[in-house]
Amino acid sequence: MAEAVVLHPSLRLVGRPLPRHDARDKVAAATAYAADWGMPGMLQATVLRSPYASARIVKLDTGRAAAMPGVAAVLTAKDVPRNTLATDVPGQTTAVGPLRATLHVLATERVRHQGEPVALVAAETLEQARAAAEAIEVQYEPLPGVFDPEAALAPGAPRVHEAGNLLAHWRIARGDSAAAFARAAVIVEGEYTTQFVDAAYLEPESGVAWIDSDGVITIRVSTQVIEHFRDVAEVLQIPQNRVRVIGPYLGGGFGGKEDVTVEVYLGLLALRTGRPVKMVWTRQESLLARAKRHPYRMRYRTGASASGEIVAEQIDLLADAGAYAYLSALVLLYSTVTAAGPYRVPAVEVEARCAYTNNPPTSAMRGFGAMQTVFAYESQMDRIGRALGLDPVEIRRMNALRRGDSLPVGQVLETHVAMPELAERVWAALGPVRPARAAHVKVGRGLACNLQPYGRIVWLHDWSSAWVGFEMDGSLVVRCGVPDVGGGQASSLCQIAAEVLGVGLEQVSVHIGDSALTPLAGTTTASRQLYMSGNAVLKAARELRAQLLAVAAPMLGVKDSALDLLEGAVVADGGRSLPVPDVLRRCAREGVPRSHLAVYHAPAGEPVDLATGSGKVFPDYTFGAHAAEVEIDMETGAVRLVKYVAAHDVGRAINPQSVEGQIQGGAVQGLGGGLLEEVILEEGINLTTSFASYLIPTAADVPDVEALVVESGEGLGPFNARGIGEPPIGPPAAAVANAIADATGVRLTRLPLTPERLARALGLLGKAG
């Protein structure tokens, strides 16, 4: 059992479940989200999208649309100074080459997925803009498409991009797996399939752009990445310092706002018209065409000794990248690195590929490739345990990674690995088994563990910066370019600064998410923001504290090491104190800065060759375990969740309330993907473009998620915190699938775990399978 390392007993704020400043604002409807912004003379903009999944644009005539009442601009690809941005991903093991089109602004001669943007319209009113978009004449010649990654990689498949359909390919080969399999007492093989999933945030993609009085194109947009000002500049072919992105509080991101959304379109239209422009995508647009979570086909072959030690694993992953690259290659990398789960496996082979199709693009979504694999490796683990008569905790206890072990890529785990204690804790927390309440009901329990990287890949040389300063009255200001997606990113920074500088939380103002005015903090993705920006704020606050104490020491006639900052005063050992404003005035006279700008650099490294297992890929990992109890209706296949417990080692909870929120929210989102959610496509045509058909769980559909916040006191973040944004979405689907298997003896291998699939597997519909 991980025992929390005792923090300095004088900590006043860190570790306490304090109400967040942004929570009250949101409940009171005081938060001005991106779509809440308005400006005088503002135009309304809309996107014309492709109705086809694969077609050639034969004719594109905007003449009639441009002449319609109220229309200020109609733009097509030829109006875009640089229409395609591409990037390379270092470290690919095959010569797949640079990625094609991480950002493709508007369709040129071809459309590659339904809903692909073809033209933009800005007009005085939204109705005028939409009428004009409908009046744009586009003639399409439908082309053959390919809608499945397996088919896309077959010889002769229609090419989504000229260079071929293989987008990325990663490989790991560690140990002699053939020899290891030969020694295995039991071998379990399974094929697992996951589906397209939508981020389904409350707040659709939205923003307003204007050219400010200094000529800078300013875009206030719902984004996880204000650094996209660079992409906007590149597309517009203007200097990067002429674009400013302001990122207000978000109504959810989940990775769906990691790529560029509306900001490039807004920049183009503002530049063309010289007027403020607003664009808000409808829910239907968002569900139709925004990047989804990658569907995976995962083949696992796992060998274990008679006593239960995993000796070898062969893994083949194939993901659907949709029509454009976006972040697919990196998502696949995460899957590759985590494919064997939080277990010691001496011989591992992983082949991972993703292919272009004419489906909607797929990209980042909470878990980022490290979550699909959980469904596979935890199903396998359960099956091996059952084959050998070991209970779910025991099989995991025998194989759990420990500190000093290395992952199949060769990365050595340097911090505490909270396995198997997390598994033991959630399993125990389920409590005594309840009897089934009716003859047609069976009860089952399932366990699933996971590991999820936090922080970006080490060869991306990640950094974050933050500025912390006192005003003359002793109030504190934090400036940091974080986008706050709703996880409490901003308030945690306040808590850290207030802790170090001895002020109350209410005395801190925080300015976030402005590429012109706040120091850049990097993306709110990869469970990295508390880790990275928390460290930057901690560093800035500690430097500022030292500056202040150095000035205060002679004023109080003591050494600065004898001083503390408490409740707005510098306090000496003997009880004497100076109000902070007095010290600040002395700083001003002496020319000592009352602020500090700090940059935190994450541990960095060079690209590793995954195949030969040569080293570090991620800074560190967060471990977790979830346990579910389900009731199965044996006549209908309905699965009812009765109890759900989730535990993660977060190193240190800066704000336990926010941590619990992340664990509960992640678990519920994972349960949604496990049981309900599926983007249904027929030949690339999306049938689930409203919340009447794309079903997400409501509060009435899930039990209370019991969050166990485990603090090992080890982690790379401030006060030894670990990232917790993504990890909780990993285990739910596997935990439920394992519970279903426990209750019924039937294993489902395809997500979502619908009652119809279970009914079929139970043989209720005539034939099993």
Binding site: P51, E127, Q284, A638, R640, S690, P755
Partner: protein, 338 residues
């Protein structure tokens, strides 16, 4: 968000004025009560009325009158929440209270009306989509197009009756009072429907459902079970309504009506006939459930495939009967969700 197209809104104070306005504007007009289904459909351009005749200001459309013993009259404008909570309905027409309480979400039940649910538009995966989406696939015959995308060779529309209350009211022997500009008539509820996804109602365009009239409940018990993927709120992809009048320990009379398996509620008369005069034994229940599944012929144009919905018809009919017979293994409507 999607926006409503422009329309003129009329707010008559009497049924007669409403019917007159509907007659006057003909095909350009539609009535609107709670608007919970109509307005989203208008945003998707599934309906494009130029004139909406609002029914909310018409007092004679609201109110629940009568007692279970002598029969009840429910104003079509009564909200689903009010129907679900009414003690006399809960006590004597249990399936109706259940069904009304399972329509959509609490917020929408506070707005949505019984009349609206009885007349609710049929649904289909290819129809309940935005205008742009439907345009992209070339539209379907229910709106703006020529063919059926579910059954391309078909000359008719297969959109699915998606009312929770209609099969229940049918099983209870309800009648409806229809009011038009030139008079009124009372017809059995089943006469209101026909098995066509487009022309699913037989009432004249100018006619309004004014009241739902329930016969005396003497001796009848009823149950409604609903299948849907998400338990909290969703349209039915199968509804099973069963009403029984016991005669001692034998069934005197029975009605079984299925929802969401055709373009109208679908009765199962053979199954009901097999119950008459019999004791509700487990063996009989199994036989009746098999018979009831016969008329269940869903197409794959909703959530879940037709083999599953057909199989669930059997399970739900058996459960409803067990529940009414007081046998173990009876379903509870709130749990008949998958």
């Amino acid at each position: 968000m999607m926006r409503l197209p422009p329309f003129t809104y009329l707010a008559p104070r009497t049924l007669h004025a409403a019917a007159t306005a509907l007659a006057e504007h003909g095909a350009d007009a539609m009535p609107v009560a709670g608007g919970t289904d109509l307005f989203p459909n208008m945003k998707r351009r599934q309906f494009e009325p130029k004139v909406l005749v609002g029914l909310r200001g018409i007092r004679e459309l609201t109110g629940i009158r009568g007692r279970g013993r002598e029969g009840m009259t429910l104003g079509a404008g009564t909200t689903l929440s009010a129907v679900a909570a009414h003690p006399e309905i809960v006590a004597h027409y249990g399936a109706l209270a259940t069904a009304a309480g399972l329509v959509s979400s609490p917020q929408l039940r506070n707005m949505g009306t019984l009349g609206g649910n009885v007349c609710v538009d049929t649904r289909c995966n290819y129809y309940n989509q935005s205008h742009e989406w439907r345009k992209a696939i070339g539209f379907c015959m229910k709106k703006d197009g020529d063919i059926c995308l579910v059954a391309p060779g078909s000359s008719r529309c297969w959109a699915v009756s998606s009312s929770d209350t209609a099969p229940v009211l049918w099983s209870l022997g309800a009648r409806v009072r229809l009011v038009g500009a030139s008079g009124e008539r009372v017809v059995p509820l089943e006469a209101l429907y026909r098995d066509d996804g487009i022309q699913y109602l037989t009432k004249q365009p100018g006619e309004l459902v004014a009241d739902i009239v329930l016969p005396p409940a003497d001796g009848w018990t009823s149950a409604y079970l609903k299948l849907r993927r998400r338990g909290s709120f969703d349209f039915p992809v199968l509804g099973v309504a069963v009403a029984l009048r016991m005669d001692g320990d034998r069934v005197g009379e029975a009605r079984i009506v299925l929802g969401a398996v055709a373009s109208q509620p679908r009765p199962a008369p053979d199954a009901a006939a097999a119950l008459a005069g019999e004791r509700l034994t487990p063996e009989l229940i199994t036989r009746v459930a098999d018979l009831a599944a016969g008329p269940s012929k869903p197409l794959d144009n909703t959530d879940f495939t037709h083999p599953y919905r057909k199989k669930m018809t059997r399970v739900f009919v058996a459960r409803a009967l067990r529940a009414l017979a007081g046998l173990p293994g009876g379903g509870r409507a709130a749990e008949e969700v998958a």
